[in-house]
Point group: C2
Chain length 188, copies 2
């Protein structure tokens, strides 16, 4: 494994465990077995390091999410796919998932929040588009696509973080339950 990758993975684990603001660059470099100029050679700054971590993990996930939320006149199917995308992402990258999770709920004016915000927006886009298209087939959903997006993501994050904390599987049963509960919230 090359230095660049080692630094990225070391930084990820430190940021996830202690937080971005509380982790020093020297700490990361020592643990990765390189010196500071090496890290600053690959990533221009501490912020640039975090940006590389976010983009490296979020970019591939976003492609999967776009595919999962492509509306085909079957909202139930779509919801299941979107939830599956999130849950398997959380399960495959538990450390990164924990990191982005804490960043999403960080104080609004913190650097952490500022850094993750564009990625949160990019996640909302395809999901909100899916709900907007579904409005045509379900009249009672009209004008609520933004609210549905928020609620869905909130529920997914609640389930995922709970499962991660208890080291429980995010399996088909849980997906069925979450989807069922969410649909019930929409149509009742």
């Amino acid at each position: 494994m090359n230095n660049r990758t080692t630094i990225l993975e070391t930084a990820l684990s430190f940021f996830a465990a202690f937080g971005y603001e509380a982790t020093g660059t020297l700490e990361i470099c020592d643990a990765a077995g390189v010196s500071k100029p090496t890290m600053y050679h690959y990533f221009k700054s501490k912020r640039g390091l975090m940006e590389a971590i976010l983009s490296g993990n979020f970019q591939p996930f976003l492609e999967r999410l776009k595919e999962a939320s492509r509306y085909q006149h079957d909202l139930t199917l779509n919801l299941e796919r979107v939830m599956r995308a999130y849950f398997s992402f959380a399960q495959e990258n538990p450390v990164f998932y924990r990191l982005q999770f804490s960043m999403q709920y960080a104080p609004l004016k913190s650097e952490s929040y500022e850094l993750v915000l564009p990625w949160v927006k990019r996640q909302r886009e395809p999901i909100q588009a899916m709900f907007a298209q579904a409005e045509a087939d379900h009249g009672n959903m009209r004008g609520r696509s933004s609210g549905y997006t928020t609620t869905l993501l909130g529920m997914i994050n609640a389930y995922a973080s709970d499962a991660l904390a208890r080291e429980r599987e995010l399996d088909d049963e849980l997906i069925y339950q979450a989807r069922h509960q969410f649909m019930h919230g929409i149509f009742s």
Copy 2:
């Protein structure tokens, strides 16, 4: 307003906006119009300042929560009371609610998380006790009181933070919807 209170309120607004780790003691003192030794006179340390904020806001809420979750063989009523306790707490202290929220989801080894953890545990106790007692009346709930507590708190936080972000009211309609959706998740 005396200096102690001014410092507490100033610190609360800074911690909520920028985060505990990212806020300097000097920043707080300047904004509060006092000097550092004054702050260190009232609170032994930066950590002690945060502890005073947490205890001053959480303590009264905990009393209300204990009362709301006293089980009287009517789980629906209890859920409504608990949700109402949280929602009105969030609405009356939006800044503090935002702060404790970000601390709950902070990295596990951060000082923020460490500081809020005992208060989170103290909140779970009465709620989990409520579910444990309800098991006697609802056989299909057996052995799930911890899971229910987590899910309920996750759902409440999702609703509350969403409402706070959109500056929407946490009114009776929302409480009904949330309670209904949660009960449906339990009994289906």
